[in-house]
Amino acid sequence: MTFGSWLALVVAIVLSAEVVRWLRHRALRHERWRRFFRHPTAAWGCGILTFLIIVAIAAPLVAPLDPIVQPDPVRLKNHAPSLTFLMGTDVFSRDVWSRFAYGARVSLGIGALGALIAVSLGSCVGAVAGYYRRWVDAILMRGVDIGLALPRIFIVLMAVALWDRLSFAWLTLVIGLTSWFATSRLVRAEVLALRERDFVVAARALGVPSSRVIFGHVLPNAAAPIIVSAALSVGNVLLLEASLSFLGIGVAPPRPSWGNMIADGAVTIYTAPWTTLFAGLAISLVVMSLNAVADGLRDALDPRQDPA
């Protein structure tokens, strides 16, 4: 670790703590966001996610070494964590902390983008199925049933078999396109209830076109479950990426992702546990933080808890 990377790390920690403190301060003004921070875990979740996002964005600053460079594969391999190598080195003598920081970019990037694709697609399909009902609903929801019944990992394996190795963009797309089924079910249920509300009937009576009724009147009022499902989706997508990388069909090595790092370190897990520990810990922490944030959001966005 160089002086610069230590400094960047400290700044990242302080910055994430400051962000949470600022959010909390702002939240005092709104009943909804006060409810969010009533969950102590939600604040911690926010802090951890902010920290990891900062690390991912500022990876060149926090990482002292190139994540792919092998400084000395003979003498520096499986070096235990120390002040020089914050998280130790792996079997190829690469700095685990540097790989961790750059891996955050890949893992969180795929997680966020994949979830964005999944939630947008799921919301649209769910809204269309719930709004039009009848045969549209029947066809779309039978499709969703099939999607939910097929193990996602097989679908992705088929995609990999077809196109050999997937680029980052294709991997994100494939993951996103196989993760929207649960969201569409959720949104459909919400839309089924909303379409009978008087303000939606009023919009139809005024001659508002269907697409505008769906996107202007129905979906904005289904925002709460969509946001919660988005937060949970990021965690799911991240886990899927990790398991694919662990199986060697995800992100191509030597590029680091948290899943890759676990796969690389798996052989030396008894002699050098730090090579897998930190990446595994990060994945668990992100998923747990997202669940905590989703819980907080669920409470914050629940209109039944709004004061009248």
Partner: protein
């Protein structure tokens, strides 16, 4: 199907509803594999006309089908049968483009001002949308002014308004497309009594100023009294009595109307109250009783075996009066 005799022509009817039927199909028995259950007959052959510029009050208790009548007329729900003529054109036969044009002419005001406005749109956004869609020249400020709201409300969200203010916004939204006909679906039932009078007066003023035609749905006769020219009373999906307003209040010919009138609160505490309390509940519209639908609860002293077997037609009593009643004993109404 014989249409009931038409009331004496006052003017050419703007709205002509003929034998409107709306049945809700029920689930089949045995998880959708067995014989079908009987459908729910929400509206079972309703006919009426409303002359231009007049108000028909449609009264009935919960589940009588009055709201369904209003919504099927505007094609917010598809009817099972019957016809609705608007200026002589069959509303149910319109294609989607003609239907959109018709949306400008027929509007609806809802009962619950809390669910009838989109909670995520400001008053301004709510009112501007219809103006934009139909390319109309009206302004939000003018609409708010017309319903007696200050221009400052334009920036507010529905949750920042009171029930009466929201209902005024709902009325402004219906007016935005400059309709000729408005279905008022219990527009004051959810409001405080003091606000009810204000909203009723507003509706009456608007009718006079814009020459509007109303179908005014309500669940009690007291509210309708002030605004309706004609009153129709519904029971179990059928109209049981229809007459000019003054007539129906003076001499109700159907025992159900008589019972509804006796439930109207009397402001004078010393007045003699002759309240008729109906026994039992409204029968299920999936299995309406044979004969007269009202016979199981009918308090009429002349009630006979005929009531249990023979459906009383809606007929003019006395002939030529324009007063229609569906009772075998309409000539000898209950006192």
């Amino acid at each position: 199907m014989t249409a009931p005799p038409a009331p004496p022509p006052v003017a050419a009817p703007l709205v002509d509803v003929r034998d409107l039927v709306k049945h809700y199909a029920a689930e089949r028995r045995w998880f959708g594999l067995g014989r079908p259950r009987p459908p729910v007959r929400a509206v079972d052959g309703v006919s009426f006309t409303i002359p231009s510029g007049r108000t028909l009050g449609l009264v009935g208790e919960s589940g009588s089908g009055k709201t369904t009548v209003g919504r099927t007329m505007l094609r917010l729900q598809e009817a099972t049968g019957g016809r609705v003529l608007f200026e002589g054109r069959d509303v149910f036969a319109l294609d989607s483009r003609a239907l959109r044009a018709l949306r400008r002419r027929m509007q609806i005001v809802f009962q619950d001002p809390y669910s009838s406005l989109n909670p995520r749109m400001t008053v301004q956004e709510t009112l501007r949308e219809p103006l934009e869609i139909h390319g109309l020249a009206g302004t939000v400020a003018a609409l708010l002014d017309e319903v007696g709201l200050d221009a400052v409300f334009a920036k507010r969200y529905p949750h920042e308004l009171s029930g009466g203010q929201r209902q005024r916004v709902g009325i402004a939204r219906a007016l935005s497309v400059e309709p000729q006909f408005i279905v008022c679906d219990e527009p004051v039932s959810a409001l405080d009594v003091s606000v009810q009078a204000q909203v009723l007066n507003l509706l009456a003023d608007l009718q006079a100023r814009r020459r509007l035609t109303y179908l005014f749905i309500a669940h009690d006769l007291a509210v309708v009294r002030h605004i309706a020219d004609d009153v129709a009373v519904m029971y179990l999906g059928k109209i049981v009595e229809r007459a000019p307003a003054a007539e129906i209040y003076a001499l109700p010919r159907h025992p159900y109307t008589r019972a509804l009138l006796s439930a109207v609160p009397e402001p004078d505490p010393k007045a003699k109250k002759n309240r008729i309390v109906l026994s039992g509940d409204v029968p299920s519209p999936a299995m309406p009783p044979p004969g007269c639908p009202f016979h199981p609860r009918c308090p009429h002293p002349l009630k006979s075996a005929r009531c249990r077997t023979e459906v009383p037609p809606l007929r003019e009593v006395p002939a030529g009066s324009g007063h229609l009643a569906a009772c075998h004993y309409a000539e000898q109404p209950m006192k």
